[in-house]
Symmetry: C2
Subunit: 340 residues, 2 copies
Amino acid sequence: MTTIIGVDAMSGDHGPSVTVPASLSALAKHPTLQLALVGDSEQLNHELKNASSALRQRLRIEHAAQVVEMHEKPSVALRAKRESSMRKAIDLVKEGQVHACISAGNTGALMAMARFVLKTLPGIDRPAICATMPGLGRPTHVLDLGANVDSSSAELFRFAVMGAVLAEAVDHRENPTVALLNIGEEEIKGNDCVKQTAVLLEQSSLNYVGFVEGNDIFRGVVDVIVCDGFVGNVALKASEGVARMLADIAREEFKRSLLSRLGALFAMPALRALRKRADPRSYNGASLLGLRGIVIKSHGSADRMSFAHAIDVAIIEVENRVPDRINNRLEELLAHLDSP
Amino acid sequence: MTTIIGVDAMSGDHGPSVTVPASLSALAKHPTLQLALVGDSEQLNHELKNASSALRQRLRIEHAAQVVEMHEKPSVALRAKRESSMRKAIDLVKEGQVHACISAGNTGALMAMARFVLKTLPGIDRPAICATMPGLGRPTHVLDLGANVDSSSAELFRFAVMGAVLAEAVDHRENPTVALLNIGEEEIKGNDCVKQTAVLLEQSSLNYVGFVEGNDIFRGVVDVIVCDGFVGNVALKASEGVARMLADIAREEFKRSLLSRLGALFAMPALRALRKRADPRSYNGASLLGLRGIVIKSHGSADRMSFAHAIDVAIIEVENRVPDRINNRLEELLAHLDSP
């Protein structure tokens, strides 16, 4: 089967200078892939001028006159940017012209447009953002990472269902393990909402394994970790912050003296390997789950390799029919939840 | 003035084998410091057998027959462990025999006992846990880190006051900057409670500078960051988790081949400097703020250097009369808050 992905080619900090080369890489990697690049046709043609004709054949351009800005208010973008590359990429999904779309643009606008155009699945009010975390063990899918705040236990339960389906569909895990993010202070042991969600999960057919703490996010010990979007977003950004701080300090220390510069030279292969394994670029591509369609969010600062990885994520979700599977599983589990 | 600190010498993963040498280090560093080591007198005397008599003079032992276990329920510890080293260390603060106490034990039990014995300051229902974060810039005090969940905006406002007083008293910052931890997704921009707290802070005389995100915790751009304890705890633990993951990967990569081992050898001075600067041991010692007394919580896994650092934190808070200053500031700001 041919997979066709719509690319919001104007999106991200670098726009077509990243999205176009990344798209060509993806086409080279996946021989049956087709792409629809959405954006300013003149700019896109310019970026494509040196592309091999073999790859060029599997790529078409959809002109879009507008661009959603990174800090534009989602409500404004929704109203005023109907001709934007982001909106048109989502429209292509709705019209069945592509199987999925991907954007490195404004997350709030992407969420708002995707929800407006594609609608959510029955039982879902708002999509959740789910990303895969690096770790020493298996990949861990964490959701929600910022699309929902003040989530109820019913919402957290739905995140668990969607995360479990994603782990099954994408990692081919049978009966994936699901955990709730909590805190371990003995006097408190979590907030009320988390405790209520634990009860719902225990009663469900999901493979719920209990509470985990913040440090478990990167241990690769569980397939799915569920949390409120506020908590998930702060945890994700704090983790990025600490990694950046360590990298900055390392850079300073390796530059401190001639001897340390020499040390850096000798340590380079190991440092490069470390960088590669811990590189957030290798994990780029968050899923907006709960929509009637596949929408992938790339990090705004994504480079070519990183954006290409997000296209890979879109392809895998298409091949494994993630929204259908979520829909089926939600129907089954929510029926059970509502029955006495 | 002589400062006297009570040490829960049985606490932490390593008990007296860490707390006693750390106490001796602290005595050597601070020539007028006195310590009261609370715990099993036989064990403590054994650990002290090689101590210099000059240091030994400034240290007394208070026998305690019980120990609070790391995973004991706080309510159980509160009821059944009145003869524990933790409880007796707190009792010494209450009785005015020491100026502050420090424990590396069960956080929940420490909180419960401290609150029961010392009581909270007027206007404070529960103490908050505040720690200093490493960063490239100034030290940032973050609270709450897990003592309170589902905090109201009134509680978050109190955290802000206490954090600001700590930054003033301990870092000698004039008019320290205070920020609220939030998420940046445009469609949402935080939960209701954070938004309400922002209004309270804007109307106060605190130097409120607005929202920061998770990655700003380690940037050292602000003196105080305020958040709900659930969020703070997850952020802290996630950060520890990512740092540990990076260290584990680095260790693996440097051991991979003879060449990479050689690289590690050459890079050692820089790696050691990195480790030292990013070492959580240099930041050990969280404050339980809002009590009528000074209680410092050390990390359970603290080693000698790390536990000694937590003693330093206690000394600084004593010298700067942190609870008195918090009390004064709360009185002033809460009066303003309640007035029309």
